[in-house]
Amino acid sequence: MTRVRIENLVRSYGTVQVLKDVSLDITPGEFLVLLGPSGCGKSTLLSAIAGLDEVQSGRIHFDDRDVTALEPNEREIGMVFQSYALYPTMTARANMAFALRVSGATKAQMEERVTWAANLLQITHLLDRKPGQLSGGQRQRVAIGRALVRQARLFLFDEPLSNLDAKLRNEMRAEIKSLHERLGATFIFVTHDQIEAMTLATRVAVMSGGIIQQIGTPEDIYRRPATRFVADFVGSPAMSFLDATLADQTLDIGPARIDLSAYAFAKPPAPGPVTFGIRPERVSVHPEVTLGTHPARLTAREPMGADTLLWLDLHGQRLSARVPPEIGPALQDTVHIGFDPAGISLFDPKSGLRL
């Protein structure tokens, strides 16, 4: 269990700043997921934590130890790579034991550690095979085993599931989660897949453009996105955004007026243009006029099995609604929609910050 403290980290390649003054405090035993689109700096941040990438300025502390200048192997970390990065000329057993062998461990110690890790990952029967004779999922297990053997207190995962097919990915995801619970070590996991982030993390840090946009529990990130970027990136199908005008306690989208008395403003609101965000499952669709609904035009239906996504046109602006599958087919072209007040997010149209 390691507390990881990152202070004002800056990393640039030439003139391109990949990490812009990133600070982060990870509590011991936490499962932190770094989430973001490709090129957002999440892998660079992970490399910096591992010591594989130098940083121009800023400090990294593990507990009370400043590790900024230490080599990766001096940081007591285990790391799992996207391409697994197994040594192809060695058996799984030798792969897992190589680091111990180099550090001068005895045969008995190596055997004990490898057996322990192999049992934990259920790969005992694969130990004498070479990586070329293993499937993707098996290679991934061996790679995790190699990280476990070294008795690390911090584990780093660099998109470890992205090379697996969908079914295996779900299996490995569940296994990594239970591994975290059993080991109690701190995990930092990089991914661009929001499902992985939501299911695995105790906290998620959403990154974009070299900065951390928001850090919080998966629920926080989903329900109270701090910026428009986070709101847009997290959630599938995505949140709808509409241009609106804020007036005291109400909001106008064209002629439609929405009551905002239940909305928790981050700071006292100023009247003017805002971006209104609503998740599809927070839009209710009715065939007839009811209290607090607004007329909208139904433009398309996308059945997705468990539910149906409806595309709607509200006074010239597009939004989507997620409804039970039996509702979709019965609807006429004109429907009446209502917004769940608890599902509304408002953003400043210029800065993108949550209001």
Binding site: L52, P72, I77, M79, F81, A85, P88, F98, V102, G132
Partner: protein, 298 residues
């Protein structure tokens, strides 16, 4: 296309391909394999300047194996070949690893080391002949700098002249080996290097236990290329030492050509050629086996 199909009798694409290839196939079968067969046949005859078709069995082979000049030439094939291949691989690997470590001015160094391969063995031989000539080359140069007793007299010593061939050959071919091995090193997944840093594995152990074994198929490719150079080595020897002093630096190729065209001993030359062919076949078989072994390992 459709018109020509209607007006001409239609040939199936496979037939067309076979027709196109026919001249090449005939040329190869008659010119190449036919010649090989003819050579083997001649080695069992007492032909001198012109072919005579009278069976004499293994007489020529017996005579060949008892010829001192052939013994020296065949032995030289292995001395020269072993040292040439060994040093080419060694220097090639060391240079490739240095380049892979990100030495400054990589592309310039690469060009410098690769340059000799652009020269033919004739030019290489000439250049080294001049360099090693006691009165005009390095010896004279060093003496002119003040070391009056400096002697660099490799070419005129029967025991050491063979090593001048190795020096010139390695100078010529180490760059090629370097480039091939360097390409192999570059193709190794960089995450493996990152993983080794997390594991705390020193670089030299990575090269020894992981990277060089991974390069095995590439090394075999180099071996085959270099072996071909060894077996057909002729120009370098002719230009650099002329097989001398005496015939101390003779090699099978020179022995064979001399006996075919200068000494009018077609039978002996053919027997020698057949032995050389067997040697090549043996090398190819070994390399095929080891390549299969390498593939099974990865």
């Amino acid at each position: 296309m459709t018109i020509s199909h209607r007006t001409r009798p239609r040939l199936r694409p496979r037939t067309v391909a076979q027709l196109v290839l026919l001249p090449t196939i005939l040329l190869t079968v008659i010119g190449y394999h036919g010649s090989i067969l003819w050579t083997i046949v001649l080695s069992f005859t007492p032909s001198r300047m012109l072919p005579v078709y009278r069976w004499t069995g293994f007489d020529m082979y017996e005579r060949l194996l008892n010829t001192e000049r052939w013994q020296v030439a065949y032995q030289n094939l292995f001395i020269f070949g072993g040292l040439y291949i060994g040093f080419c691989l060694l220097f090639g690997l060391v240079l490739a690893i240095l380049l892979d470590q990100g030495v400054k001015g990589r592309s310039i160094l690469q060009t410098i080391f690769l340059y000799p391969i652009a020269l033919s063995f004739v030019v290489t031989g000439l250049a080294w002949k001049w360099l090693l000539n006691p009165t005009t080359g390095l010896q004279d140069f060093v003496r002119s700098l003040g070391w009056e007793n400096f002697t660099l007299d490799l070419l005129s010593s029967p025991d050491r002249a063979i090593y001048t061939l190795v020096i010139a050959g390695v100078w010529h071919s180490a760059g090629l080996t370097m480039v091939i091995l360097f390409a192999g090193l570059q193709s190794i997944d960089h995450e493996i290097w990152r993983a080794s840093r997390v594991d705390g594995i020193p670089r030299w152990r990575m090269y020894l236990h992981v990277v060089i074994p991974m390069l095995w198929p590439v090394v075999v490719t180099c071996l085959v290329l270099l072996s071909m150079n060894v077996v057909r080595s002729y120009e370098l020897i002719v230009v650099l030492t002329g097989g001398g002093p005496g015939f101390s630096t003779d090699v099978p190729a020179k022995f064979i050509i001399d006996h075919y065209f200068a000494r009018q001993s077609v039978c002996l030359a053919s027997a020698a050629e057949t032995l050389r062919l067997l040697t090549v076949a043996a090398i190819l078989a070994i390399s095929a086996l080891s390549r299969r072994g390498g593939e099974a390992a990865t």
